[in-house]
């Protein structure tokens, strides 16, 4: 069990709804759900089997205190942010944001499923973007393609060749980024200071050890 997971389990004991309300982004909206099901009916990914728990079921599970089932679920990682659910929700529950809030919180606690591709993308993107304040597309795609080894990476890169060439032609992708650090923002130190401050404020707001 991670330290943070231990800390949160001790603090909220069996009140998982309260934990989500205070710790997950937009979690305080969970109690507003009236279980009409329009969110899952509107979800484009709901027609794939990976979505084992649609949003309104996740919300009910949170209220029922099913902590492990919710946090270890892969469901919220499947959200494609189309916002159909949010637009149609009769209670104006920001479902899309809650999905991301739950995913992020599960990740922080170390309970998110380990081999989840969306999670890998998010983590890679975050590390890539925060390093220099700019996304290095070449390195980002490299990391993604080669995550399952060299051969698989070459295969994927070959499959996407025409797309990559198109991007280069349209000057949306610079192959020279592969060499050195790539382009960066002017004040990297400033960016890092801002991120550190944001982390500090979040910890303060959510009563977490910084």
């Amino acid at each position: 069990m991670s330290d943070m997971n231990q800390q949160m389990t001790a603090r909220y004991k069996n009140n998982f709804l309260k934990e989500i309300e205070e710790q997950a982004e937009m979690g305080d909206w969970v109690k507003m759900c009236m279980q009409c099901g329009v969110c899952s009916g509107s979800c484009p990914t709901n027609f794939h089997s990976a979505w084992d728990h649609p949003p309104q079921e996740l919300f009910m599970m949170i209220r029922a205190g099913k902590r492990d089932e919710v946090l270890e679920s892969g469901s919220m990682w499947n959200c494609v942010s189309c916002y159909n659910c949010y637009v149609r929700c009769p209670r104006k529950v920001p479902i899309t944001h809650i999905m991301h809030g739950l995913a992020e919180y599960a990740y922080r606690l170390g309970k998110a499923p380990k081999q989840q591709p969306t999670q890998f993308l998010s983590k890679t993107f975050w590390d890539n973007a925060t390093k220099t304040g700019r996304v290095n597309e070449v390195k980002l795609t490299q990391t993604l393609y080669f995550k399952n080894g060299l051969m698989d990476g070459i295969k994927q890169a070959m499959a996407m060749q025409s797309v990559a060439l198109g991007l280069v032609k349209a000057k949306r992708l610079n192959p020279m980024e592969a060499v050195g650090g790539g382009h960066k923002c002017k004040d990297i130190k400033g960016i890092h200071a801002m991120l550190a401050k944001a982390r500090e404020l979040e910890a303060q707001r959510k009563g977490r050890a910084a």
Partner: protein
Amino acid sequence: MTSVVATNQTILVVGGGISGMTAALEAAETGKQVVLVEKNPYLGGRTVQLYRYFPKMCHPTCGLEINLRRLKANPRIQVLTMAEVTGISGAKGDYSVSVKLAPRFVNENCTACGECNKAATTEIDDAFNYNLGKVKAAYLPNDMAYPQRYVIDPSVVGTAEGQAIKAACKYSAVDLDMKEEVVTLNAGAIVWATGWQPYDAAKITPYRYGEFKNVITNVEFERLADPHGPTGGKILRPSDGKEARNVAFIQCAGSRDENHLRHCSRFCCMASLKQTRYVDEAFGADGKSTIYYIDIRAIDRFEDFYQQVQANPNVSFVKSKVARITEDKNGDPRLWGVNTEGYIRYAEPHDLVVLAVGMEPSVKNVAIPIEVLGDSSGFVMADPANGGIFGAGCATNALDVNRAVQSATAAALGAVQVVSKVARGEA
């Protein structure tokens, strides 16, 4: 010129639906003078547009007939139809009200013989049937219309057809020179009973109302089931006139929705349960009704009605707010969503979809030409700050006929107390 006798001891009732009629009658029967103002050419409002009411499944003809008899027998009520209140000034015990009267082009001589109708050729939308059919430009709004007097549509006035209509009348009842007029009258108290209107279903975009012909509203379905309606009481779907044997009802179409109406409209669950009976009566075991719902709110003592419908094997219930509707090539609307009992996805075709649209006040409190307190949906609230103005019926809340009548009686009592004080010189 229309003359109205009114003093500051008169009660003005605005709206001649079931609530306004009730309030007017209750007040008049205690001995007060009442002026009843109605926008339509007939009394009875949305209640006469129903085929039958729940829970006893009786026809509005019955209940309204009693009220009309009371009204005809009471000399203290003056009825103004095709009339709208345009201005109110003054205060409790002494209001001055302007009322705009639209021309009917037919006077009191009318015997409702129908000769003008035969002479008319132009057809206009039949508002009484929610524009599902057409009527001729000289028409009786509905069979039990009170006053029992024809109306001539302004579109034929000044035409040769208008002259033919006039010539057809044997009683000199057609008067094409009638003009719009404004009368000013006094009142000590006002009962505001302007009722409700169905929520505009076209605003619920995923349901494609107005675009898919076989997606209709619950009020339109009442007209389809009514023998006096546009289909003669046959439940035929609008796109191709096929019998609608497989009908879906979508509850909370607009109600309980922060994007549309915030409130629960209360009557729609019972209305849909009632309408499953129409399907059952028309087609028996060959008919199928499916109710898609969030939760069924068969308010108060109507739970037994719900249980009876549940026991019907031809009616099924799906606990789900439908996400969207598409249309199959044959015109069948197809409903998409997830049944929350078991989280089962569905994509079901039906012959006809009935949207159980909710109630919104037809005149929101802010649209009343004097300051009256209202809630966040625009329903009139009971508050001493409203002075001598009392909300009644669906102007105050989403109510069924039964509750609207109760509310109207309460409003009449409030108004009676005000004018009694005026009479005693206390107000």
